[in-house]
Every structure is written in structure tokens, then in C-alpha cells.
Amino acid sequence: MSRILITGIGAFSAIGDNVAANRQALISGQSGIRTLSNFPSRYAGSLPCGEITRSTDELKQSSGIDDPGVTRTSLIALQALREAITDAGLTPEQLRSSDTALINASTVGGMCLTDELYHDANNDGLAGSPFLSSYDNASVTLFLGQHLRIGGIQNTINTACSSSANAILYGARLLRHGFARRVIVGGADSLAKFTINGFKALHILSANPCTPFDAGRTGLNLGEAGAYLVLEREEDCHDKKTYAHCAGYGNSNDSYHPSSISDEGEGPFLCMQRALEAAQLTAGDIDAINAHGTATENNDETESRAMIRLFGTPPPFLSTKAYTGHTLGAAGALEAVFSILQLQYQESYPALRFNEPIVSTGLIPSASYRSLPVTHIMSNSFGFGGNCSSLIFSAV
């Protein structure tokens, strides 16, 4: 069967406006975690977040969008998506073709407008806002699809924090089954009162910049980002520039608790194992891992256990959430882009703010920027509802 190749990538996060800027920050160990400032909240000025510093108005201006109903999530998505399709050299005719699909993920969607949503949803006597059709997760996809005139299948996936990993997996399957010849896959989420207060209520937001896999970790930082990949079948790529081969993917459910992972990391173990099976690889073939690594008490310990169970001694790994924050629906795609960069440049990035290993597992993430031979890299994403997914990218 024809291989699924990555022909374009785009990323917009707290550490950079585009893929090159993101890579530069990763190389130099430059974190994007800073104090929340872009919207009014009781946590503005105090809560550390992976915030994109540009305001929504600035994003509208730079994107040339004047539609009053467009949301921050859609604007972040558009910028990253444009980079990916330009990188892949997709023409307007190709975008309009019925065999070009767009598979997008979002968990916040238009809920970044938490206050506007409150007024509209409670129908409190004011006239409806311009955002009446912008609140749901699909609104981002529909905006992108309409703006870029995508002619083929469109879909939106929400499996919480693993959403865009599943968007990639779904897009790859559409190609395999011939429902599309090229797919644009990825996700976007922006910071929102809704998610900040949700994670706060769960007591898993850290008051300080997060410390993934550190024994003293105190929780996660939320972030915002958009990241997209263009996938095409090898037979259609000819002499096109290609980054990597989407070699395997695995999806599992931890079936343990709505908002935490089982002690032995059953779901994480299963999705990594299934990704290896799909890629026809063994654990020893994996050269590096971009871990889910949210820096919560529960995630990092259970993910470590699952990695030890599968790999014995895991290959070099790190969580780039120390740079970008946890970007929720964008995380799977953003970290897929980072994994592809590791593969392309044969390098490994420094884990930030790591001091001491977790006592029961003893795992130590990659310490510094260095060159690293990478043929196969794994990227993990786990979410609420037990939704776990793992992707494997391989050198072409």
C-alpha cells in the first residue's frame, strides 16, 4: 500500500509565528510561558500561560479578515493552515477539488468568547451577538473550509487533549481508503475563561511555569496554538518535497476515570503499542518520543510507567509543553510538527525546568540541544474521557 507522506507543515504558538520560529525557540530553549494578558480574567496578570502575544485585532489585521463573527481560535488556525498549504504548494484548484479534505480538531472552538457566549446562551434580553454561529468546535473548521474553499470532505474531531492526533489519524485513513487524495489535518485552540476555570477547578493548573517529568511538578500551564500538516499519498508526490512518512497510529481508551489516567497507564500503553503494530515496528526501533507530558502529578507518572512497560529503557524523550503550554485541541498536531522537525534536522531539544526524576520511575528527559539520529519518532496525546492516541513518523 502506498505510504502517506507529509508534504507541508504549519505552526503558530506562543514560541513562534511559524514553523521556523518555533524550531528556533526549541533549539535555544526559549519558553513561551508568560503571564496571561490578552483578555480580561481574574487570572490576567498572574497565571502563567503559553499565550500568543498578538491580540485578536492584530491577528484579524494581519490575516486580512474583517468578518465580525470570526473568533480568535479561527484566526490562529488560519495563520497556521496557510503556512502548511503554502509549504505543500497546494494550488487554489487543488483546494477546491472534491478530493481535498480538511480534518480539523478543536476543543475550545468559539468558547474563547466566554462572556459573549454567556449572554447569548442565557438570552438575557440583549440582541444576539455576531458570534451566534461561532461557538461550537465545528465553527473553526467551517470558517477555514469556506475561506479556503475546500472542496472535499470536512470533519471536526473532539477527543479533548488528543483531538488533533486523531485528526491526523483520520486524515491518513481517508487517504488509505481513497476518500481523498490530499488531506489538511490539524487543530487549533485559544485560551479561554472556560478552559482556564475548568482546569483550575480540577486543581491541575500550576501557579508557576510547568516542569514536565520533574518530581516536584505542580500541574500544567494552558496554551494556545494552531498547527496543520498536509498529507498526500506517495504515488501522488512525485518529486515534491516531503518531510516524513506517517508510519503508524494507535487509538485506545483508558476506561478508568473521566479526567485522570489509570495508575499503570493502560490507555497510553495500548495506544503506543497499537501505533507500533500499525507501523510494523518494534519498541527498539523508536529513536525519540515527544511525550504528552502535561506536568500534572497524574499524567507524567502514568505516562512514564507506560513508556517503561513498553520500552524498558525509553529512547530520548521530552515534553514540549514546557515551551508552549498545553494547547489542548492543537497539541497533537503541534507536537507532530515538532516531531517532524526532530526527524528532519536529526536533533533533540532541551527539556525545560527539569530538576529531579520522579522517584518511582526515574526517567530523565533529554537535557540539552544536540544532534540525534532519528529514523522513527513517536508523539503521544492523552485526553479526558480516557482518549489516548499515539502517532509514529518515519524518515522517508
Binding site: N123, A160, Y170, K193, S252, N253
Partner: protein, 341 residues
């Protein structure tokens, strides 16, 4: 892909044969689901579930008593809206003060699939499609691909959405529900914009094996855009590609909104010999309502007569293919072709 088992909770009686003959009325332009007693779900757990999670799990669990699917694939535009607005109101009303996380966790659209995975200890493929009015169609396509990848495995595929103040108010403000009181029995005579709100859950067990199947999914197509010419082109191309033009029954998503009627009339004109059925006076309008049309088709294929009030034109009396055409707000469209074998 073949459909083997099905179950449904929606605003009409589904438990007994002939239960659909008596049309239950809407209240305040809303048709609310008739929920069963949910025997077998622990009461403590049931109390904590929002309606979408309750309907979704309550529809699926009876199908999973003796069957362990290799995938749980849910289509829902909104998931737990009731919990979502409860949490939203907490945030604003308490000015981001001390909040309880229960509603937040239940408000994520993947809570239905997640809860099903949890309750049935199912660690297989688990996914939630949330593409508004095409969420269910994407779940079906996902299940169809899985059935081709592994024909002998069973998959649970479902459509769930609830009415909550949240989406009712937003869609009311958006002009998608009628501003005047509207009885569902006269829904199609209103000749005004907007529909009435509905909700429901449909669950199917599918695989790649024809033996003893209730129905076969022969083809599915979706497209976006309000252009009526696109609708005509897509329907024509679909009919040409997948049928010989003989479709004894067309089920449309006609919903009493006179702005959407032209799309459905276009489809009806392309199939002049077909009987035409409608269902949104039973279900109300909601993003995954196409699931109801599919469920009704399964009942028809099993030999149950659909009620008189279902038929707009003619009456289906053969076991030939059934075409379902639905549009959500004129922006998202789908065609689903089913046959008995």
C-alpha cells in the same frame, strides 16, 4: 458496511411496534426525548450525567449486553450542553471564583464516548466527531472505513444531541426556531422560517458482514455550501454513481423552515417516482437528526410499517433502496443510501 442492531431514544415512543402511530406533541416549540428508566445504570452515576450522556449511554448499553465492540464512534455536534452552560454560568456568576469541576468534565463533547468506554471497560478505538450537522455522517464514514479494515469486528456508532437552554437560545436568536407557537403535527404547513427544536440518540452496531444484517450502507456523501446548484449537482452525481435511478423511498430532513424547502424539493424532483417520507415532526430539528432517518429505515427493513404521518407522498411497499437527504441550516448537506441487502 452492514447494520446489525439498533436502538433509539427520541421524542416519540420507540419501545413497542406501532408506538410511532400516535404522534406525541411538542411543548413550547421543543420536542423532548422520552427517556426510559435506564435500568442497569447505577443511580449515583445517572444523577451526575447530563442528558446527552444519559441518552447516549442509555441507548447504547442495551446493545452492548452480550457484545463487545472493537470501536466506539460517536457523532454529536455539542455533547453535554446542559453541563456546558451550568459551568459557564458558574464562571460568570461567581466571577471565576471557586468552581466545581463536575460540569466542566461532563461538558466536553467526548464525554458520551468516554463514559461508554468507562462503563463497559472498553479500551478499543474511541472517537467523537463534532462536525455540527455532519457529525453523525462522519461517524458513519469512520465506522465504514473500520468495517472495511476489519470486516469481522463489531463497531458501535451513534448520533446524540440534546436540547439545552444554551443551544436553544442561541439558535432561537439566530432565527433557526419559529418565533410563534408551532404544533409539530402541522410543522410542514407553517410556511415560515425556522423549525422546532428536538433531540435524540441513535445507536447502531455495524460490521462488514452481510449475514443476518438489517441494512447495508451502500454510500454516503456530504458537502458544504448554500448554493442550490451545488445541491442539484451533488444529488445527480450521487444518483448516477450509486443507483440505477430506482429509489422506492426518499426520506428528507424537511423541517418546516421555508428557507430550506427548495433544497428538498430539488431532490424530490430528481426522484419523481419515489415515495417521500419526513421525520422531523417526530424528532424536531437537531444537528444529528439524520440518525433518526437511518433508524426508521432499519425498522422499515425489518418489516414494520412506518406511520401514515411519516409519508408526504406515496407509500413505500418494497424492500428497495432508501435514500436519505438532509441539510443542516442549508450549509451542510448529506446523502445516505441504504438497502436491505
Amino acid at each position: 458496511m452492514y447494520i446489525h442492531y439498533h436502538n433509539c431514544i427520541f421524542p416519540q415512543q420507540t419501545a413497542l411496534p406501532g408506538g410511532l402511530d400516535t404522534l406525541l406533541p411538542a411543548d413550547g416549540n421543543q420536542l423532548k426525548a422520552i427517556e426510559p428508566s435506564y435500568d442497569g445504570v447505577p443511580p449515583g452515576l445517572l444523577r451526575r450525567m447530563g442528558k446527552a450522556v444519559r441518552m447516549g449511554t442509555g441507548t447504547a448499553l442495551p446493545l452492548l449486553k452480550d457484545l463487545r465492540p472493537d470501536g466506539i464512534i460517536i457523532g454529536t455536534a455539542n455533547g453535554g450542553m446542559e453541563d456546558c452552560i451550568r459551568f459557564l454560568n458558574q464562571i460568570i456568576d461567581y466571577d471565576e471564583g471557586m468552581l466545581t469541576p463536575g460540569n466542566f468534565v461532563q461538558s466536553t463533547p467526548n464525554a458520551i464516548a468516554g463514559q461508554l468506554g468507562l462503563m463497559t471497560r472498553n479500551q478499543c478505538y474511541n472517537i467523537t466527531h463534532v462536525h455540527r450537522g455532519l457529525s453523525f455522517e462522519q461517524a458513519l464514514l469512520d465506522a465504514a472505513m473500520l468495517s472495511m479494515e476489519h470486516p469481522h469486528r463489531n463497531y458501535l456508532v451513534g448520533a446524540v444531541d440534546e436540547i439545552a437552554d444554551y443551544n436553544y437560545n442561541i439558535d432561537l436568536l439566530g432565527g433557526w426556531y419559529k418565533k410563534h407557537p408551532q404544533q409539530n403535527k402541522d410543522l410542514y404547513e407553517a410556511n415560515s422560517p425556522g423549525s422546532i427544536a428536538g433531540e435524540g440518540a441513535v445507536m447502531l452496531v455495524v460490521n462488514g458482514q452481510p449475514e443476518e444484517a438489517v441494512a447495508r450502507l451502500r454510500a454516503i456523501r456530504s458537502w458544504h455550501g448554500t448554493n442550490p446548484d451545488d445541491a442539484r449537482t451533488n444529488i445527480e452525481a450521487f444518483l448516477q454513481q450509486y443507483t440505477d435511478g430506482n429509489i422506492p423511498l426518499l426520506i428528507t430532513g424537511e423541517n418546516g423552515d421555508n428557507r430550506l424547502l427548495p433544497y428538498y424539493e430539488t431532490c424530490e424532483k430528481l426522484l419523481p417516482g419515489s415515495a417521500v417520507g419526513r421525520f422531523k415532526h417526530m424528532s424536531g430539528e437537531y444537528p444529528t437528526a439524520a440518525g433518526i432517518a437511518l433508524w426508521l429505515t432499519c425498522r422499515l427493513f425489518e418489516g414494520e410499517a412506518l406511520p401514515h404521518h411519516f409519508y408526504k407522498k406515496g407509500k413505500e411497499n418494497t424492500a428497495g433502496p432508501v435514500l436519505i437527504y438532509n441539510t443542516y441550516k442549508g450549509e451542510q448537506h448529506s446523502l445516505i443510501l441504504l438497502s436491505k441487502k
